[in-house]
């Protein structure tokens, strides 16, 4: 008995140390110069917390070892094989796994003993958050990898959304079930299934362009689920680490929502369609197409160029050829910058990762606020597969659904090239007046091929 107490004290001391390491680790992860060390520090924290827990376990050692080895294998293979363009769906999947782990922990606690009122409450909350995070992340994964194409308004989506709304009163009932003397395993299993369905209904109606917000929110929820599991198990390191994840995901969610000038509630529960009264604009003017050869001639004479990438660059896998163009321009004496909008792409920082993979130095990347005031000094702005984030309606048309959203004001540059596959509108479904501006030239076709042609012109 005495020995047992000593072990618990020792474990808790180590948990405190690893909590501190987690805190320092995540702090360092927020700065370029210290990020690598921060990640390593946090992995040391994880290793020490896990090792000290292993001293005293109830689960059979074969189960533990086989599960950890299998998990390590699967995790490492995914992490080392994943393409940088597929990072958003991988993060979504991992968010879901985190939620699932907490969901299973709470489930197991429920089967453990007849829980007291407070424990029961924590079990149900953990199951709910974990379950929603899991299935919601699976939908996010499906949408990001384009395996799920169900949109808002379809029958299946509506049914799933109904489950989501049903799940909220169900959670309240389950939380106070012992007090209401509801005591049935059958009802508990029903609740498990309902939370998973509710998660599907939570994310299904949300469109692909809003995924940066959803993925950040699910990231936050996976941490909150772990923190609640920590409350349930009376474990402080789970609480601290889970809360840190919850906070970091929340910050990213807020940054993303701000970058769209929308509230989180509007993104999750309303969407663009109902936010717009979409009056179709009559005056659109003429689109002026240009060939890659002509684009080359203009770029060759430019003294400063701003590249603005969007999701289209990821789809076309054009990041390497973009970097090549940037280098050729620099050799030619042109100043090159990359304007990155916070919600360009499908997750926070998506464009930054792609350009980093292509070896673009990160000090060349600039944010909208840095570049907008001096936009008129740029000779050419090259928009690669971005649409809504450069739509001047956001600043010029008070009736537009995206009015007020901070954009990269490329229309103020001397010349704008827009690389695009067709004239289709962006995610928000709003026509883009940029395409019809006097100083805009449209370069239609696959972004990778178009830039490839410009690059080969440069080399000749």
């Amino acid at each position: 008995m005495n020995m047992l107490i000593d072990i618990t004290i020792f474990q808790n001391l180590v948990y405190i140390v690893s909590s501190v390491l987690f805190i320092l680790g995540i702090k360092m992860l927020g700065k370029e110069s210290t990020a690598v060390r921060g990640n390593i520090l946090s992995s040391v924290a994880m290793l020490s917390a896990v090792s000290v827990t292993l001293i005293d376990v109830d689960i059979g050692i074969t189960i533990i070892i086989s599960a950890i080895i299998l998990g390590a294998l699967i995790g490492s293979v995914i992490a080392l094989k994943v393409k940088m363009t597929a990072i958003p769906e991988m993060v979504a999947l991992f968010n879901g796994f985190g939620g699932m782990a907490s969901f299973l922990i709470a489930w197991s606690q429920f089967t453990d003993t007849q829980p007291a009122l407070l424990q029961n409450l924590l079990i149900m909350i953990t199951i709910y958050i974990g379950g929603i995070t899991f299935s919601g992340s699976i939908v996010a994964y499906g949408k990001l990898s384009e395996k799920i194409n169900l949109e808002k308004g379809s029958l299946v989506t509506n049914i799933l959304v109904t489950f989501f709304y049903l799940s909220i009163p169900a959670l309240l009932i389950m939380m106070f079930a012992p007090a209401l003397s509801i005591d049935s395993n059958f009802i508990f299993f029903g609740f498990l299934v309902l939370t998973v369905l509710a998660g599907l209904g939570f994310v299904m109606p949300i469109g692909g362009g809003d995924m940066p917000v959803v993925i950040s929110l699910l990231n936050s929820l996976s941490g909150i689920a772990a923190a609640f599991a920590g409350l349930l198990l009376l474990n402080n390191v789970l609480i601290v680490a889970g809360s840190l994840v919850g906070a970091s995901g929340l910050i990213l969610t807020i940054i993303m929502a701000k970058a769209m000038n929308r509230t989180i509630g509007n993104i999750l529960f309303v969407g663009y369609a109902s936010a717009s009264s979409s009056k179709s604009e009559g005056e659109q003017g003429e689109v002026k197409p240009i060939t890659a050869e002509d684009a080359y001639l203009i770029l060759e004479n430019a003294s400063s160029v701003l590249v603005v990438p969007g999701y289209g660059m990821a789809v076309a896998q054009a990041q390497h050829v973009v970097r090549e163009l940037g280098e050729l321009l620099e050799e030619n004496g042109t100043e090159v910058k990359y304007g990155i909008h916070p919600v360009a792409g499908r997750m926070p920082g998506h464009m930054n990762v792609l350009l980093a993979e292509a070896n673009v130095s990160y000090d060349l990347l600039v944010e909208p606020d840095d570049v907008n005031p001096t936009m008129d000094t740029f000779d050419v702005a090259v928009v690669i597969g971005a649409n809504d984030v450069v739509n001047p309606s956001a600043t010029e048309e008070p009736g537009s659904p995206i009015y007020g959203m901070p954009i990269i004001e490329v229309h103020n540059a001397k010349t704008v090239f827009v690389l695009k596959r067709s004239m289709s509108s962006g995610f928000a479904g709003v026509q883009n007046p940029l395409f019809f501006k006097e100083n805009t030239r449209m370069l239609f076709g696959d972004a990778k091929e178009s830039i490839g042609t410009v690059v080969s012109e440069f080399k000749d």
Partner: protein, 91 residues
Amino acid sequence: MEVYILLGFVLLLSIFLGLELISKVPSTLHTPLMSGANAISGIALVGALMLSAEGQIQNVLAFFAILFASINVFGGYLVTNRMLSMFKKKS
């Protein structure tokens, strides 16, 4: 009861601490921060290891809880490291 209030306090303070720590993260690091946080949420592994294993159901639940959390831990740290090693500043 008291212990729950105490730990609830820890939870709230940790969230505020996290918000303070990460509030000014540059957008270059948004993705690595998220995948790094992802790895940290694998702390559920500690919780999974603490589960009891009486009957068959509990053993199965424990196995999968450990499995999912370990995928998160290993996958999360590795991919974050891989991403961060690509961020370079040309001198």
